[in-house]
Symmetry: C2
Subunit: 210 residues, 2 copies
């Protein structure tokens, strides 16, 4: 359909269009941008991406991305090693760290159970989580997944795996986002926000902290 005037350009567009959220029109725009740059700068970008793809390392404890064999969080003396927060990927670790509200450690699954994408429990670091918990020093596992079918499935699967291990298994609170109108909230979220209501004096104390 597209009549690219150059094979070099077409190949570049094909590669860029493989990236998630980048369609062929955007890929062409990106390729045109790269053509306006100095080839040395394009090479530097490519070297940086290659360097990451080849040399990235993962924390041997929590599976988070790290330049060290054990990441700063797992290695810290100030973190509570008896509480594990289970997340999909490193972006969730960064988001939770940015809140400044969590002092435990993490366990990064490296994905989420998604039959549509062909990702099952065995593709994720679930076995190593169960193993870690089975050793006995963990008191609580907090599951922090997005509220999607895939997130709920992963929640339930991990809950079943950990149920017999005599620990607390919790999931992050669902409720009305700050700034949201109650009248536009969906029924399930609003329902859960009533069931899991917070004592007002606790909320006051929380606001004071942050």
């Amino acid at each position: 359909m597209d009549n690219y005037p150059s094979r070099l350009l077409e190949n570049a567009v094909n590669e860029l269009a493989k990236l998630p959220g980048i369609g062929r029109k955007t890929a062409l725009r990106l390729a045109m941008h790269l053509l306006r740059q100095n080839p040395v700068d394009v090479e530097m970008m490519c070297n940086t991406l290659n360097d990451m793809a080849k040399n990235i390392r993962y924390c041997s404890e929590c599976n988070s991305i790290s330049d060290k064999s054990i990441c700063d969080i797992c290695n810290s003396h100030n973190r509570d090693k008896t509480v594990i927060c289970v997340v999909e990927d490193i972006r969730d670790v960064m988001a939770i760290e940015n809140t400044g509200q969590y002092r435990g450690i993490y366990h990064v699954l490296g994905g989420i159970i998604s039959p549509i994408d062909g990702i099952g429990p065995d593709d994720l670091k679930i076995a190593s989580l169960v193993e870690k918990v089975a050793k006995g020093s963990i008191k609580e596992v907090i599951m922090a997944f997005s509220t999607t079918i895939e997130g709920d499935t992963t929640n339930f699967y991990i809950y079943k795996k950990l149920k017999g291990l005599n620990i607390i298994v919790s999931t992050i609170a669902r409720g009305i986002s700050i700034g949201d109108d109650i009248e536009y909230a969906d029924q399930i979220t609003l329902g859960r926000s009533i069931i899991n209501r917070t004592l007002y004096e606790n909320m006051l104390a929380d606001s004071g902290k942050s």
Copy 2:
């Protein structure tokens, strides 16, 4: 503000965030995607981009991107070499070619006059256009730029340069897009569409052609 757990990841995000329309969150999403790929595939993408950046060639006649020294359009015997359509970049050539309505040749400026971005007439292939027209075989120059301040400025600048050369200088029609509601059209577009109205029998003939 962001606390990347790895220098390699942070460098990759920094490079990807230089691309137009890619913010830091999207750059991180792209970097995570690349990490899930086989490093060999990332290397192939990078080689393809480098190959394009280093080896791309431009048609010596029209300045369009081409793998040959003269592009297929300039080299074709079926194109009318007395009509030149002036465009900003290769994407506009591709868009106009897709209409199947144009049989002349092109002249690619390689950009558009934009003082905000520091792009003046001397940064574009305007001198070579004037030179080409001054040789005398050109009958008409059609300017096909976006309807932005930059496009209008470029239109006017080129018009002034070509005015004395005894050729027709035209610009693509502005009017109501097909599928658009008249009541939502802006005043200027609607005004121009009335001034430059088309004989209904001509429009019927056009529809029959395409």
